[in-house]
Amino acid sequence: MIRFLEFAGRPLVFFIEECGRIMLLLLSTISWMFRPPFRFRVIFKQMEFVGVNSVGVVLITGAFTGMVLALQTYHGFKMFGGESLVGSTLALAMTRELGPVFTALMVTGRVGSAMAAELGTMKVTEQIDALNTMSVNPIQYLVMPRIIAAILMLPVLTIISDFVGIVGGYFVGVNLLKINSGIFIAKIIDIVDLDDIFNGLIKAAFFGLILSLVGCYKGIYTIGGAEGVGRATTQSVVLSSILIFISDYFLTAVMF
């Protein structure tokens, strides 16, 4: 029985240990944030990588999410004559949930995995050791700029996703499904509060923290050559995605 419990509990122990190590990395990163030198160029470079280079992906996913949502909600609401609620439902869903979550998932796939792969390769080719020997702290030089960039850029990307999602939904609702344009917009203004948008952006910043922290953690603790880098990359995407969904539930429960 004890052996069974040991066997069954091993993944749980591993998960808790992993979370503990990630928290230690976060604390270390925070402590390095306030110590010079402040490498703004490195942070801006990461902001470009995380933010600017992700705009295309976010535009496409945001627009089609809004479009499909308009299509689905229209058919549902039509059953009881509530088509006028399509715009507001779509806008609430985009700003509160789908904008932040889908943006975070897309950026996890594009950026979180790249962070794990890049830092993992640096680890196995001794480039991180080289930084240490040159008196440059790898957490301050590699991890901190990535985390700051992701926390700052995820809300920006989410605003873009929210906007194009609503525009996409408007296009489908008004032009294809013939919902009245004035009602579509009026209901959005009527029902969606600024708090809905801001809370969505806070979520996005939190997801940015998760995906960058996990990507960096998996990268700098990579072991085992090319195979290890591959493993770290996959694990970072899986773990980040799981943590994004779990934290989304709790953030929603607290915020709304």
Partner: protein, 242 residues
């Protein structure tokens, strides 16, 4: 200059260094030889504080670095340059940016002055016209040369080498050996090299230390090591030559 006193280190119950003692003379080339997997790299990483010992003391320039915090350790590390086995050049930077990296990080020199030093160091290691190339465009020997240029960019007092000739063809190996000797003569820095290449060792070393089973079992000039009566040393040299 560098003193290792009774250094022990184990990984998962496997003892890699066992109360190891070693004194490294300033402004000389000391080569630490030993079998592959015998703990040479671990020893080198102890000297620069990348790994902390389980017990013992590491003294660098009269400073005990064994339990220094990161900030103080970083200050001591500014005395060091290190050439890694595969050079460990930053993939995302050009050759010039790699060599300039320590200068950008630790000096307030202007871009023009940094460029001048970068060119000087690259010339010193016999490389010209590669400043804008990426590390992936270079051969193994060239990467090591760039790694050496980066290691000596800040004119460190101590330069560590992790197997500098491993993976090179005989001609390139000879050329890297010559470069190490010439650079040491010119910079007057303390060079510590780990190697299992016995031919190279006898060519470049002022002093040879032999690592076996976690301890330094013999220390001396190349001639002293060659003529040693110690049965292990004899067997070791003979086996490695084969």
């Amino acid at each position: 200059m560098i003193k290792l006193i009774k250094i022990s280190k184990s990984f998962n119950s496997q003892k890699v260094l066992d109360e190891l003692d070693l004194n490294i003379d300033p402004e000389k080339i000391t080569v630490i030889i030993g079998q592959s997997g015998g703990g040479k790299s671990v020893l080198l990483k102890h000297i620069i504080g990348l790994i902390r010992p389980d017990s013992g003391q590491i003294i660098i320039d009269k400073i005990d670095i064994t339990n220094l915090n990161d900030k103080k350790l970083n200050e001591v590390r500014k005395k060091f340059g290190m050439l890694f086995q595969d050079a460990a050049l930053f993939d995302s930077m050009t050759v010039g940016e790699n060599v300039a990296f320590p200068l950008n990080e630790h000096t307030r020199l202007s871009r023009k002055e940094i460029n001048k030093i970068v060119n000087e160091k690259l010339n010193l290691v016999g490389l010209e016209n590669v400043i804008h190339k990426m590390p992936s465009e270079l051969s193994g020997g060239m990467r090591k040369r760039v790694g050496l240029a980066r290691a000596i960019a800040l004119d460190p007092k101590i330069v560590l080498f992790d197997e500098p000739t491993t993976g090179l063809d005989p001609i390139m190996r000879e050329s890297v050996d010559e470069l190490i000797v010439a650079t040491q003569k010119r910079t007057k820095a303390t060079f510590v090299i780990i190697s299992h290449d016995i031919e190279s060792t006898f060519t470049i070393a002022h002093k040879v230390a032999m690592l076996y089973q976690g301890k330094i079992v013999a220390v001396g000039t190349p001639d002293e090591i060659r003529s040693s009566n110690n049965s292990f040393v004899k067997r070791f040299i003979r086996d490695l030559r084969i």
